[in-house]
């Protein structure tokens, strides 16, 4: 097992649900309620020292995972050595919610807003959880798999320019 993943498992034996190193890309799956503590450990521990949060993203597995429908994925990197690691937390289909990591890495702010906008995952204690890409008032979270690719008519709902309107 990858050293840092082992360290997490030793520190939080109850939190880790799974481990995978497909193509030497270590991924640990943790319980959503302990994701924040795990990530703080990975950031602050001298050996691990993941000082850079590459991205926060999410996957909609629909009913293909027994752990939950949505997976929030944290991509970590240590700038000094370039080593990388992935932390996953599965959330239920109803009301998916997880602790924000913005207090740990400030750059998580916009990444979490993107996940909220497109996937509908809520982040507790996020400083400013608004839509970031879609216009305010958009009603759905379109990256969910049950949303039609061509949308529900939002893209055709504009009024064409009419010169008679003046300015």
């Amino acid at each position: 097992m990858f050293k840092d993943a082992q360290a997490v498992k030793d520190r939080f034996p109850d939190a880790v649900l799974g481990y995978d190193d497909f193509r030497n890309q270590p991924t640990i799956t943790v319980k959503p309620e302990s994701a924040f503590e795990t990530l703080r450990f990975l950031r602050d521990d001298k050996e691990a020292g993941y000082d850079f949060l590459v991205d926060v993203t999410a996957v909609d597995y629909q009913d293909r995972s027994r752990l939950g429908r949505f997976a929030v994925v944290y991509h970590l990197c240590r700038m000094e050595t370039g080593k990388r690691m992935r932390v996953k937390a599965y959330l239920p289909a109803e009301d998916p919610e997880i602790e924000s990591v913005t207090p740990l890495w400030h750059c998580a702010d916009w990444a979490e807003r993107e996940v909220y906008d497109l996937m509908g995952v809520k982040f507790r204690n996020h400083p400013d959880l608004r839509r970031i890409m879609l216009p305010e008032g958009f009603e759905f979270h379109p990256l969910r798999k049950d949303y039609p690719v061509r949308g529900r008519g939002e893209r055709d709902s504009f009024v064409k320019y009419d010169p008679e309107d003046g300015l």
């Binding site: 879609l134 379109p142 690719v149 061509r150 949308g151 893209r155 504009f158 064409k160 003046g166």
Partner: protein
């Protein structure tokens, strides 16, 4: 040379013709470049393709000074009010060119967040095909704009300011 002194001091012509001639060779574009088509447009403006041969070398990033709104790239839902505002700020006479497949039809981005062709929201004069179009195609788009201008009567342009 003294040749000026031998020229007549006036010529007779049609007002439409002389005004259109002036408009034709000073089409100042306002580039609304959102994607790779914008890069191709930069190439057409640079020395190798040299758009200034056709009088369009001056980009105007203030819509109030521009004649041609050049939409190069896809327009997302959130950009629609912005594009509309820019178009409304442009003074008459004004023309619109949709550069590339995305601006013309939505192109390969047949998804919820992309306007399926800017002609859904604006009156488009010229569509330039390509993904992205070559600079030659963009230059041809300008030639088509010139042709449109040649066929216009100045009295036709009565809207706006």
């Amino acid at each position: 040379m003294g040749i000026e002194s031998r020229l007549p001091t006036f010529v007779t012509t049609k007002l439409d013709w002389i005004v259109n001639q002036a408009r034709k060779y000073s089409v100042w574009p306002m580039p609304f470049a959102t994607a790779c088509c914008g890069i191709e447009f930069m190439a057409s403006a640079s020395s190798r393709y040299d758009l200034s041969r056709f009088g369009s070398e001056i980009m105007r990033f203030s819509p109030r000074q521009a004649d041609l709104l050049l939409v190069a790239g896809r327009v997302c839902l959130k950009e629609v009010p912005v594009l509309m505002k820019i178009y409304r700020q442009m003074g008459e006479p004004k023309w619109v060119m949709a550069v590339g497949a995305c601006a013309s039809t939505g192109g390969m981005l047949d998804v919820y967040g992309v306007v399926q062709g800017i002609d859904k929201i604006l009156p488009v004069d010229v569509y330039v095909p390509g993904c992205p179009p070559r600079p030659e195609a963009i230059i041809d788009g300008f030639i088509q704009i010139h042709k449109i201008i040649t066929g216009e009567r100045i009295a036709d342009r009565k809207h706006g300011d």
